[in-house]
């Protein structure tokens, strides 16, 4: 089989990443420079600072990806880059660097949706069997995506307010945890019990949408009321109760969609796919309730933002010969499909 190597670049938020991917499924290199330590100073990602870090890193990271993969520009078939969604100033660095590399070496340019990238990170684990359903959960998104075939995306449900990851970050702040709080809350949840019975928003509604802002408010109220009364709440129990609500809603609605849409596979994707509680709950429920549907969960190393996934999703566009022009721009609010 012919080998197609794609250089992929990702800079949508606070990670500068470049990768070289063979045929959309083999990682030859995947270099990620994280700015998280920088943004921890501010309790969240500061867009202007993220953009500045990307300019500092971009050529270094691409060079390292090319060297580690041991490929030359003549070996490459295309350059793929995240065009959105994300922070506009951050996206622009990857987009302009990708255009410069494509122009300099006369390579086709491929524009990739960041969320499609998250879904395709599963391709490094397992081949995709359509039709399939993907649960994409991150700091900016919570979506159920139906895919009839490669490169086809239908959002059948999404959050109406906060993304699940966003809710984690916000309650992390209330608990006084360093940013980003998600991983620590997950660990605390495993030590606590679901005793506070936070609401399960939209659980019974006849759609696949989510809402996490009510849960967040209810959490904040609980903590503030206790503070006013001088009551001590168990932080681990708070984390466990919060996480139980998020997971129950995600898992229940996903399972319902899996059955309704009669899919062959369920893929988990996005930064929150690293959440141990979610991984366990989804595995348990799927094994019990839908054993005929294959559950694919990406390794932790591919849950966060990375360019390898952009190379995998970009290969789908490459096969369709779907290329972008030199006027490619960043699209911060880009939707899937």
């Amino acid at each position: 089989m012919e080998k197609n190597w794609i250089l992929a670049i990702e800079s949508s938020c606070d990670e500068t990443s470049a990768a070289v991917i063979e045929n959309g499924e083999v990682i030859l290199s995947n270099i990620v420079a994280s700015q998280i330590k920088s943004h921890m100073r501010f309790g969240g990602v500061v867009p202007e600072i993220a953009s500045r870090h990307h300019v500092e890193q971009i050529t270094l990271i691409i060079e390292e990806a090319m060297e580690e993969a041991n490929v030359t520009y003549e070996d490459l078939s295309a350059v793929a880059v995240t065009e959105g969604p994300g922070l506009v100033g951050a996206l622009l660095i990857g987009v302009n660097a990708a255009k410069a590399v494509a122009f300099a070496h006369n390579l086709p340019l491929i524009a990739v949706n960041h969320m499609a990238g998250h879904i395709y990170s599963n391709k490094f684990v397992h081949s995709m069997k359509f039709p399939l359903l993907a649960l994409v959960v991150s700091g900016g998104h919570t979506e159920l995506v139906y895919m009839a075939e490669d490169g086809s995306y239908e959002i059948i449900g999404e959050t109406r307010d906060d993304a699940a990851g966003e809710a984690y970050d916000k309650i992390g702040r209330v608990l006084g945890l360093p940013y980003p709080g998600g991983k620590i809350i997950d660990e605390m949840a495993h030590k606590g019990k679901d005793v506070y019975n936070f609401p399960r928003a939209m659980l019974k509604e006849d759609n696949y949408d989510f809402s996490f802002s009510g849960l967040k408010s209810s959490f904040i109220n609980k903590v503030h009321n206790a503070e006013q009364k001088g009551e001590e709440l168990n932080a681990n129990d708070l984390a466990a109760s919060f996480q139980a609500s998020v997971i129950e809603v995600l898992v229940t609605k996903t399972l319902r969609a899996v059955k309704e849409y009669d899919v062959n596979q369920l893929l988990l994707a996005g930064g929150v796919a690293a959440n141990k509680g979610l991984r366990e709950a989804l595995s348990d429920v799927m094994a019990k309730e839908a054993p005929e549907v294959e559950l694919v969960i990406p390794p932790l190393s591919l849950c966060g933002d990375n360019a390898a996934m952009i190379g995998a999703a970009g290969f789908v566009e490459f096969n369709k010969q779907q290329f972008a022009g030199y006027d490619l721009n960043a699209k911060p609010g880009l939707l899937l499909g």
Binding site: S34, I49, Y73, N96, Y326
Partner: protein, 240 residues
Amino acid sequence: MKILAIDTSNQAMSIAVLENEKILGELTTNIKRNHSESLMPAIDGLMNDLKIEIQEIDRVVAAKGPGSYTGLRIGVTTAKTLAWTLQKELVGVSSLKVLAANATSPDRYIIPVMDARRGNIYTGMYRFIDGKLTAVESDTHISAEKWAEYLSKKDGEFLLIGEDQQKHIETFKSQLNHRVSSALPYQHLPRASVLGILGLYSEVEEVHTFTPDYLKLAEAEENWRKEHPDLVGESYVEKI
């Protein structure tokens, strides 16, 4: 030596190709449009017109700031990535010096002006000394009021240059009276041909570490540094 020069520091976009001091082609636009959409098609179009391949370029020259943060990053990212990926030389030139070089008066100080909002400007102080454009003061971010006051204590005459000078000319006139004047209308736009010639005589940069001269920290960074003077200079980006 063939040079590609790029200036996207502000609303105007200018690119040029030179063979040493000879200008082979230049494109300058001055409309409100996203540089990310127009820069690479413009470079592609100009190179095509000139029948020059990008691989033939020996040196890429970028206007490195100050200016619009986003604009600067588009030009600098494009320039540094081109230079790095083609293994060519990279040179950065002050965006204010590019404006100053449009003036020709050897008998006065040239004051390039870019608006920096809230009464502030990016500016500098240049003068032709022995025929060579020289920075008398470092480029700076300052309130127009304070800069005018500072200049008023100096002897000599001043020429304000740059598209944004008209927003601030009255502030300068009130302190400098007849000692200040505006450059001619055709001198206010940055020209990449001028940038290219300045770049021909400037030092080559280290490509990987080249970043815009913003002349200003991001606000969050500035506040943080005030509170943590002991931690400034640490590295905050790491490979994972």
